[in-house]
């Protein structure tokens, strides 16, 4: 049942490919503003690249959170799903997975392209990709809580970042530190492992908190 939901949402996302492309475009655009702002010095850009890439990716992913429950909430299918007997936590986890596949994954995959223009050493691409993949999964999970909490709220598009961005700071720190550790020939392992642990920790937290908020919204 949950898998069917994932398939349905993925095919919906495929029909509206523009949405996914839009968040990639936003990511590329916001990252490319930095060379204009701080100057084109390759050495400086290379040093700042992990942080800039991470922040730009974070913004792109947070923007995609509004779509997690909102369309289904508006056309009433969320209520149908809640009544269908599918446990709400499975619904939430399925939505988080779809959000990651359509939001975090494409942005993470596009990141080496931006890294190239920032003259980040090519040896760092794998760790950048790994940190963004893990980090975006964390963000999709905690983002689902934020999206569920603001369901039915006015100005939800502004509220979600206000709620989710402060919570995302640990992920951001770990993600950037993983890349920077590798850049000075240390191992990124502890940071990536911590992100994995955080991700696992967020699964039960999201499965507990987001359904509680959804129940309020569907009341």
């Amino acid at each position: 049942m949950a898998l069917l939901l994932v398939r349905r949402d993925l095919s919906l996302a495929w029909r509206q490919r523009g949405q996914v492309l839009l968040s990639i475009a936003f990511f590329l655009l916001s990252a490319s503003l930095f060379p204009f702002a701080i100057g084109p010095d390759p050495l400086l850009l290379g040093r700042l690249a992990p942080g800039i890439l991470w922040v730009a990716a974070l913004f792109a992913m947070v923007l995609s959170l509004e779509r997690v429950f909102q369309p289904d909430y508006e056309d009433g299918s969320l209520e149908q799903l809640a009544l269908s007997g599918l446990p709400l936590f499975l619904l939430v986890l399925a939505k988080a997975l779809v959000n990651w596949l359509t939001g975090g994954l494409p942005v993470a995959l596009a990141s080496p392209l931006v890294a190239l223009t920032f003259s980040l050493p090519a040896a760092l691409y794998p760790v950048l990709l790994a940190s963004l993949l893990l980090g975006s999964l964390c963000l999709s999970l905690m983002g689902c809580i934020g999206a569920a909490l603001t369901l039915g709220a006015r100005r939800a598009a502004l509220l979600v970042p206000l709620l989710v961005l402060p919570l995302s700071v640990p992920v951001l720190i770990l993600g950037v530190m993983a890349v920077q550790a590798e850049a000075v020939n240390l191992t990124a392992r502890p940071y990536l492992l911590s992100m994995g642990a955080l991700c696992l920790l967020l699964v039960p937290l999201t499965a507990f908190a987001a359904p509680a908020a959804l129940r309020q919204a569907l009341d």
Binding site: I145, L149, T150, G152, A153, R154, R155, A156, L159, L162, L163, L165, P166, V169, L205, A209, A212, A213, Q216, A217, D219
Partner: protein, 239 residues
């Protein structure tokens, strides 16, 4: 506790306490400030600037204490459907935000002479800043819903989730030891600051706590009366 779920009873029991709470708060803050500014000795390294501590530290304690109160009241509201719990939680949020802001500002006044900077991205400072943003989120969220009840419940869920931030703030000085000094009062092997400094600190903390109770009472009372007024207006509009 369930007796207090009746707003009328709550006001009858706690209403008369308000002048006393305010008086105790005023007295404690006055004594604490006098002791902190005049009686307590200057620090042998920091000199007179150490006196900022008597506002900074109690404010930071209150920032955490009020958050714990908000989260506890929210949890009580979610679990037992205690009708006043959400009102209390919502009334406490701006108080907590104010104390957090006070802690950040006084900390910055203290940081300038001691560290040479208004702000550094130290673990404690950053985590308290996040706490401040969380408070702002808790203030913005209930406003965004048309249904009052729903906004209250959503905010309650958020404040319960936000509890994870409290241990991070408390232990940030141990996990990322950069500039902010580690805990010197609430630690397992006893305080590491001198008695002459610790008693004004506790007096100030007590004063802030009573101030918080007094303001909380005023705000809750106002909420209850507003609800009552709205109900009366609706009733008279119907008739």
């Amino acid at each position: 506790m369930h007796v207090l779920a009746n707003p009328g009873k709550f006001l009858r029991i706690f209403g008369p306490l308000l002048p006393w709470l305010s008086l105790i708060a005023l007295a404690l803050i006055a004594v604490g400030l006098y002791a902190g500014l005049f009686l307590a000795p200057p620090d042998y390294q920091q000199g007179e600037t150490v006196r900022i501590m008597y506002v900074h530290v109690p404010a930071a304690w209150m920032a955490l204490f009020v958050y714990a109160t908000v989260a506890a009241a929210s949890a009580a509201g979610l679990i037992w459907h205690h009708s006043l719990a959400f009102v209390i939680a919502q009334a406490a949020v701006p108080i907590g935000a104010t104390f957090t802001f006070l802690a950040l500002v006084t900390g910055s006044f203290w940081g300038k002479p001691m560290w040479g900077a208004w702000w550094v991205w130290d673990g404690r400072l950053t985590s308290v800043l996040l706490l401040f943003f969380l408070y702002l989120g808790l203030m913005a969220l209930p406003e965004a819903f048309d249904k009052r009840e729903r906004g209250q419940r959503m905010t309650a869920i958020l404040s319960v989730i936000g509890v994870v931030l409290l241990p991070i703030v408390k232990f940030s000085v141990d996990w990322w030891a950069t500039l902010h000094q580690p805990a010197s009062v609430l630690r397992f092997d006893g305080p590491t600051i001198h008695e002459s400094q610790i008693w004004p600190l506790f007096v100030m903390a007590g004063g802030f706590a009573f101030y918080c109770f007094a303001v909380l009472l005023v705000r809750v009372k106002q909420q209850i009366l507003e609800t009552r007024l709205r109900r009366l207006q609706l009733a008279s509009a119907d008739a």
